[in-house]
Subunit: 129 residues, 4 copies
DNA sequence: GTGGTCTAGACCACG
DNA sequence: GTGGTCTAGACCACA
């Protein structure tokens, strides 16, 4: 499904939550799809089950998934943009900053990077993850 | 210079480090520019001086800045690792794909993302999240 | 495991780091051995836990150990940078010359120094100065 | 005369003191030779004059050099081994530990390193430093 | 119980 | 005044 980056200082639970939100936002997980069980995902990610359970709990409190006892955890009807106002702004800034830093470190001029972006977009090449 | 986002699960020191790397990578801090003093930046960001010191230490071990004892901390000459050929191409593609995926997640149209990129590059204000 | 020398101007964290690198380099700590816990080593050496944590952090960023969150810190597989040819020769010569010079400074005859080397290699007790 | 290693966590004053003791012990500086002036050495090492002055002061208190006002600083008659008992032991251990660590990291077996040592010694090749 | 982050505050090395 | 080292101690993430 996805992988964790142990070198990222971001806590595991935040990495997991982000990845699930991403999967939903990009449509890889659709409404009423079932999420992996806590234990299964814990095994896949080589993480303690408590960590996954914490994430599912937070997603449920956020109204993004729904847990039916004894059945499983499911994606709820997507209400709209999953990120709102200031949060959206903040995340966009973070994305853009990282992109600028990494292209600059690669020695790629911004113009070239943008051209690459547009080109890549046209050919429909995105790998979700 | 930049701001921290206390709601971001990313540790403060990592937010600070990212912001400084960004400033250097984008040329807002140039070779041999002096960084703010540890204590000054700590005051500006309202964090403990040790937190800033930790960042400066890591940047130094990473070879990105140079500290002269009793004088201050300075941006080092960028050696330009300069990846070339297929490696550079491959890395750029990875960066771009991730950027496309993540902006899509946020529901940000590519045009808006590019505008944001260019604007941010120009005006250099960052919220280091 | 080893001892610190408080009269040595070398910072404590550097003494600790050197001792651990020595233990790994000489095979006293082997790949995937667990290091002492941060708190335990701090108690043994009578230093603050933060000081040990700093060392472990640096060793991790240097790629020498690996920490698994909530589990512990482990020696990584030695990749063996394996310098070869003239480079290896050159580096070895530099090491040897420095060693000869410095033992001469101390007035230690080469025979004694070599005996010390072999003994220390065998019994592995170090005073990390 | 010698160089400082800015990446060594050892304080500058300790590096300088060690180098001067080394020069005396190895005979590069002989009894009644004049040391460079504080200011000259400070310029050569690109260090603040206070730092050098501190070292000269300590060497004088240790009875190793003698300052004649308005004339200069001179090496005193060497009384014997410059390092005594526990200090000698400690320093030898430090030397040996570093040597073991560095050869091991180079992937040089101890036997080979010792052979190299003996060979190098025979051919009289030492560079004081 | 494991490592990691952060703070407050002392003291040192250096200019 | 600059950065660096160390301590004590709180709190967090993870197993």
């Amino acid at each position: 499904m996805f992988e964790l980056d142990p070198t990222d200082p971001t806590p595991l639970y935040a990495q997991i939550e982000r990845a699930i939100r991403l999967a939903i936002a990009t449509g890889r997980l659709k409404a009423w799809d079932q999420l992996p069980t806590v234990r299964q995902l814990a095994v896949d990610l080589r993480v303690n089950a408590n960590t996954v359970a914490k994430v599912y709990g937070e997603l449920e409190r956020a109204g993004i998934v729904e847990t039916r006892r004894g059945v499983g955890t499911f994606v709820r009807q997507v209400t709209g943009t999953s990120f709102s106002g200031p949060d959206r702004e903040r995340r966009l800034a973070a994305l853009v900053d990282r992109f600028l830093t990494e292209t600059a470190e690669l020695g790629v001029p911004l113009d070239e990077a943008i051209a690459f972006l547009q080109n890549r977009r046209k050919h429909g090449r995105t790998s979700a993850g």
